[in-house]
Every structure is written in C-alpha cells, then in structure tokens.
Amino acid sequence: MAQPQDISTTVLGADEIILNMGPQHPATHGVLRVKLKLDGEKVIGSECIIGYLHRGVEKIGENRSYPQFAPYVDRTDYVAAVSNGLGYCEAVERLLGVEAPPRARWVRTILTELQRIASHLLWLGTHALDIGAITPVFYTFREREEILKIFEKYCGARLTTHAFRIGGLQYETYDGFEEDVKKFCRDFEEKVDEYGELLTENRIWVERTRNVGILTAQDAIDLGVTGPVLRGSGVRWDIRKAFPYAAYAQFEFDIPIGERGDTYDRYLVRMEEMRQARRIILQAVDSIPEGPILARVGKVIKPPPGEVYHSIEAPKGELGYYIVSDGTIQPYRLRIRPPSFINLEAFDKMVRGHLVADVVAIIGTLDIVLGEVDR
C-alpha cells in the first residue's frame, strides 16, 4: 500500500515533467497544491501538499472552554458549518452525559439536512465548473441562497452559523420557519431534476466522469474514505443509519450507493443524497415536537474526566470529534477527524494513469474543503 510519497526526488524519464497545480490555481478549491509528475499529459505520480490554511484549530481548542470553542468548528468545513456545529455539540453532550430535548433534535436534523443540500449544491456547481459547464453553478447558488436565507432568519448568520448550543438550541425557531422550509423543499424537487437534465444525460458529462478516478470498495475502505466517496464505491454505510444521532432514527430515508466507484457514480450518489435530504426534511418538519429546546447543562460546562469519540455524517463524510476531558472547563485534547483530509488521501490512488484534465475532475469529486483539510 505504501506509495512513494515524494515525487520530486524520483528520477525523471525522457518525457516526464513536474507540473505544479496550486495553491494559486482556479480549480484546486482553495489552496490545495498538487505536484504532478506527468508523462505528456498523463499523470504518473502525484503529491498533495497541504497546510496552507492551517490555523491550529485543535490547539486552539485546548485553550478555550467548551462553549467558546464552538464557533471555531464552523470554520473548519466552512461550507457546512451547521453540520460541524452539530457534531461538536453532540460530542460534548455525550461527554457530559446529557441529551438534547426532542424539539432541539428535530430542528437540528432539519438544519443539518438543509446544510447537506447546500453543501452538495456548492459541490455540484463547482464540480461542473471544473469540468467546464459554467452554467450549473449559477443555478445551484440560486437554491443555496434560499437555504442560507433560512439560516440567516434562524440564527442571523449565513455561512459560519454557530446555530446550535451545547445541550440543544440557542434559538427557538422563528415564526414561519416550517413554511419556509416546506416552500424550499417544494421548489427544490424540480430544481434538482433540472440539474440532472443539464448533466446526468449529457454525453460529454458522462464521458468526462465515467471511469475517471475509480475507487473500488476494497480501496475505499483501505483508504478510509467516508461519505459519498465511500458510498459511490458501493459501500452502503452511513452514520445516520449505523449510529443514529440527532433525530435520524425517526425518519425514513435511503442510502444511495454507486456501482463502479467512478466520478459519475459519486455524482449520482450526491444527487440522490440531496433528494433524500429533502425527504428527511419534509418528514421532520411535519413532526417537530413541542417542548424545551435546551437540556439542563449548567452555566459552566465541565464534563467529568474521560473521553468520547462522536461522529456524524457530515456532507463530506464522517466528521468525528475525539474529546479528552480532564474535568476542567477546557478540553484536554480535542481532535477533529476531518472527512476531507482523509478523503483527499485517496487522491493519489485515484489520479494515477489519468490525464491532467481528470485531475480537476477528481479534486472536484472528492469534494474537499481546504479549511477542513488543513484545520
């Protein structure tokens, strides 16, 4: 399994060059730097160089109290801040041994699923843009905007929302929340089909994504990828089903999987996930229970000593928080298991033997966010 990591030290053959993609490159989704060893245009080796956005989030966590740290997690995967917040709050709640009240869990589920749709929409737009379809990005941003408006009305922020609070919710839902969500879901159904019309049957799109970046189920498990990347390889595994959290145990939804593990399969998986997310939201929004929104956690959050690993199915994959408490108000060790970081590790495996043009398709299909990769 061990691949040569440093491609620049290897001897170059007659037709080989080293091409540097990123950090200042339009298609590397931020500041990823990829060093490619090319034979003509064929990639025969790659090395990801990351860390341009490293802010030492884990170290910061050790120096903040539990509630203080919550806004920081929004800034790891900054296009799915709600999901990050959910994972963190639930992890701390588990560490404390409390559970959020049902109403809070329902609202959390709705917002997190909306966030999943928003994140996937962003992925779809940029992925299509990478492959040269310049129009979908405007359509997907149009719908994403609706979701962000709901977030804004709920908690006052659009991107880094900090929507939840340890023990439940910070805010009660606003008047008309249910209607807004339902309206979005109503409109969204045909919109997601519209994207499908633009791409799914498009011959060029299929040619560009079929058989590109194939990851077999075996490789996917070995490389530890999670989320749509894992499911695209045909492994039917989703934390929402495996270890239900929030209110997911109450709802019916399917886990889409791919067959071949190529970029097209991952595309289909994410498209279907958006539809399933809509399904979950519609179920949840009709059954939000009444009741308190915050469990009794006390003013000062001081979990008893011990440790917990809690993970959720973030839009990008398994987002885990491993928190070690020493009984003080600050975590002793706070580890974020970033899905993007580990998914990106599969890049080298996926990209070998493909062409330069596929590199951007593969970066796009991995759906990485550098804020999360570098933390």
């Binding site: 060059i17 091409l19 540097n20 490159h25 339009p26 298609a27 245009e41 299509a128 843009l129 990478d130 492959i131 040269g132 379809a133 310049i134 129009t135 405007f138 359509y139 149009r142 633009l198 791409l199 498009n202 060029i204 799109w205 040619e207 560009r208 062409l355 330069v356 043009a357 596929d358 590199v359 951007v360």
Partner: protein
C-alpha cells in the same frame, strides 16, 4: 480638383470599403464580447453588465479602456521579441481574412480566384501566434496550452478541409463570390444538399476557435489560461480580439459556403418578397425598444446620459430604416441587371449575411453556456476517429452522387441525399465501433 478626383476614383471606393469592413468588424468583435456576456448572463439567471451605459451598452468601451490601463508584465524568462510578436500574428491572421469575405453582392473587399484557399491559409497563420506565444512565455502552463491548442487546431483543420471540399464539389469554384452565386443559381443553400459537411464544418469551427466544449487550450480549470497565461493588459486582449474575430470569421465562412451568404431565405420565391422588408422591421423594432427603455429610466440626473444615448440610438435606427423603407428590387431601374441603388442592395445583403452569422455566434455562446468541456484525449479521438473518416466518406459519397446524377440523369438533390445517407451509415458504424 476634378482631375484629382478622377485619378483617385478607382482607389477611393475600395479604400472606403476596406475602412468600413475593418471598423465594422472591430465594432462587432467588441460587441460580440458584450453579447456573449449578456446572453450567458440570461442563460444563467442573472443580468450581466448593466452599469456602463443603458443595459451596459458601453461596456466594451469600458473594458477596452480598462485593459489599456493595465500594467504590462512580461515574465523574466520570456523570449522578448517572440513574446511581443505572437499576439500580433494572431490579430493580423484573424482580421486579414475578412478581406476575402463577400458580405453582399456588391460589397466585398476583394474577390480572387483562389479565395477560399487563401482565406484558410491566412486564418491558419493564427496557429503560429498561439504556438509562439506559448513557447515564448517559458512557463509550463502556456506551453502545455499552446501544444494542446495547436494539436487541436491542426486536427480539426483536416476535417474542416474535407468538409470544404464537399461544398466545393457543388460550387465548382474557389472564389467566395462565385460560391454564393452558385447557390443562387442552383436555388438551394448547400446546407440542404450537404448536411453532413455542414455539421462537420460547424463542429470543426467550434474547435478551431477554441470554444466550449472544445475550449481545452484555455481550460481555466486545468491550464489556468492556456497559452496566454503569461499575457496581461492589452497584449492579452489582442489574443482575445483575435479569438472573437476568428469566431466571426469561421461563421462567415460557414455562412458563405453553406447558408447562401448574402441571399435572403427563399430568394427565388417571389411570394416571400416581403421578407426584403425585414431589415426595416428589425430597425423599427430596435428603435421602439430604445424608446421604451428610454422612458422607463427614472428621470433623475444620473440617468440623463443613458436616456440620451438610448434616444440617439432610437432616432438613428429610425433614420436608417426610413432610408431603407423601399427594398432595392422595387425601385425603378432594379431588376435583373445592376441594381439602381447599390447602397440598398449592399445593406440588404449585409443584413442577411450578418443575421446568419449572428445565428452562428448565438450557437457558439449557447454551447458555451450548456456543455461541459471535453477531455483532450476525447477531443482528439472525436477528431481523428470520427470527424475525419466521416468527412472523407462524405467527400467520396458526394462525388459518387454527382457522377451518378450525371450518368443516370437523376436529380442532383436526390443522389446527394443518397450520398448523405451512406455517410451517415459510415458515421453510425464508426460510432458503434467506438462504443
């Protein structure tokens, strides 16, 4: 004085034509960029440029000024002379070729015996600009972009050549004017006789101009900007100009060869002569739109210039349409011989010609908004495994069809359609083999 005019007279008219065509093309190139931005914007549920002038109508000027003011950076490792020369070659190649395009029966700069060949020759010089620019930058991305670009251009040029030959079989001449006249004489646009050749020409034209879905040389998500990555300021915009001029050029070639050039649709059907009024109608409509927009703007000070501009445009359009109210052929002295009012004939011709060209250009823009980008190997495979064999098959079958029609006395369209069917069969076979 009269003597001077007399001596200058033979040179005056061509010179005026040269200037008109030249300025017209420059203007269209500038506004093509604007049109592209507007059309794309409306495809993408947004408005596009709206700030400079009414509906952003002065945006091209603002863009030009901005580019003029941009700093000019030349990479340290670049080959200075070649770096300066390369975009100039591209511009000259793209623009000069217009001197051979007949815009109207009496409005073209020149018509030569080997017109089409010359046209292709001149426009193919643009490749040199790309390849030299990519090389001179001394940087990975431009070089890779230039190599890709050249490989793509030359590949599709072969298919383009064969498609042109198919049309020439029908026209029997290389002179651009004579090609349109042949279509007039035969009473049918060649697109209806040679649909396959037209399709190949169309696809090759998109590829030749590096447009989506074949815009790999400048695929911004892969190669940043392709061969002109290192170009900045007005040097960059020279490439840009050349690219858009080339778009118009290939559209013009396609229109001349396949869509009857300056000919009106159904030019021979007398019952449809009212179509000659279309330029007038279009101008009146444009004027109406200008007036409506003009009155929709709020009557505040900051909109004053916008209103004035719209008003001026509207009045201008009305004025021209008034002058054109009578199509040339209804005026005394018209008819079969020389037109009595050459200017009217010219404007009619230019109108139909440019309408067809704009149809093409709209297609280009539409494709850009719709399609993802091909991968390079897929592009080459499409070119070499599909387009070229189909184009060759088309030439063979069409020449067979012409001989057949002559030997057996069958109608030419019928045999040509037979040939087209045979070509399509070949195409289907090729497609299946690939799948």
């Amino acid at each position: 004085m009269t003597l001077l005019l007399e001596t200058l007279k033979p040179y005056l008219l061509p010179l005026i034509r040269v200037l008109v065509v030249f300025l017209g093309i420059s203007l269209i190139v500038a506004y093509l960029v604007y049109a592209e931005r507007k059309i794309l914007a409306h495809l993408q549920v947004r408005l596009g440029p709206m700030r400079v002038g009414p509906h952003g109508l002065l945006q091209p000027i603002a863009d030009g000024l901005k580019l003029l003011l941009k700093e000019d950076i030349m990479p340290a490792g670049a080959d200075k002379g070649v770096f300066l020369l390369a975009p100039v070659i591209s511009v000259i190649a793209a623009f000069t070729a217009f001197s051979l395009i007949p815009f109207a029966p009496n409005f073209y700069i020149t018509d030569v015996n080997v017109g089409l060949l010359f046209l292709i020759g001149i426009s193919s010089l643009g490749i040199l600009g790309i390849i030299l620019g990519g090389w001179a930058s001394n940087s990975h991305y431009p070089l890779l972009g230039a190599l890709r670009s050249t490989a793509q251009l030359v590949s599709y040029e072969v298919a383009l050549g064969f498609a042109l030959v198919s049309a020439l079989l029908l026209a029997g001449t290389l002179s651009m004017v004579a090609i349109v006249e042949a279509q007039q004489r035969q009473g049918v646009w060649f697109v209806f006789l040679q649909p396959v050749a037209f399709f190949i020409l169309f696809v090759a034209a998109i590829a030749e101009t590096n447009r989506n879905p074949f815009d790999l040389p400048e695929a911004e998500s892969e190669l940043v900007a392709g061969f002109h990555t290192e170009y900045s300021g007005f040097r960059f915009s020279l490439y840009f100009l050349a690219e858009y001029a080339a778009m118009i050029l290939v559209s013009s070639i396609a229109v001349t060869l396949f869509l009857g050039g300056w000919l009106r649709p159904f030019a021979r059907v007398r019952a449809l002569d009212f179509l000659d009024f279309t330029p007038v109608a279009v101008l009146v409509l444009a004027a109406a739109w200008c007036f409506r927009e003009c009155f929709r703007y709020p009557a505040t000070r900051e909109w004053r210039w916008q209103r004035l501009l719209l008003l001026g445009l509207g009045v201008g359009a009305l004025g021209i349409s008034a002058g054109l109210l009578l199509p040339a052929r209804f005026l005394p002295g018209g008819g079969e011989g020389l037109p009595a009012f050459p200017a009217l004939t010219a404007i009619q011709g230019v109108f139909w010609f440019m309408s067809k060209v704009f149809l093409f250009l709209f297609g280009f823009i539409w494709f850009r908004g719709t399609f993802p980008r091909y991968r390079f190997d897929q592009l080459m495979s499409l070119g070499w495994h599909f387009m070229i064999p189909v184009a060759i098959a088309n030439v063979i079958f069409c020449s067979l069809a012409i001989v057949l029609s002559r030997q057996m006395g069958w109608g030419l369209p019928a045999t040509l359609w037979l040939g087209t069917a045979a070509t399509l069969l070949v195409a289907a076979l090729l497609r299946r083999e690939k799948a």
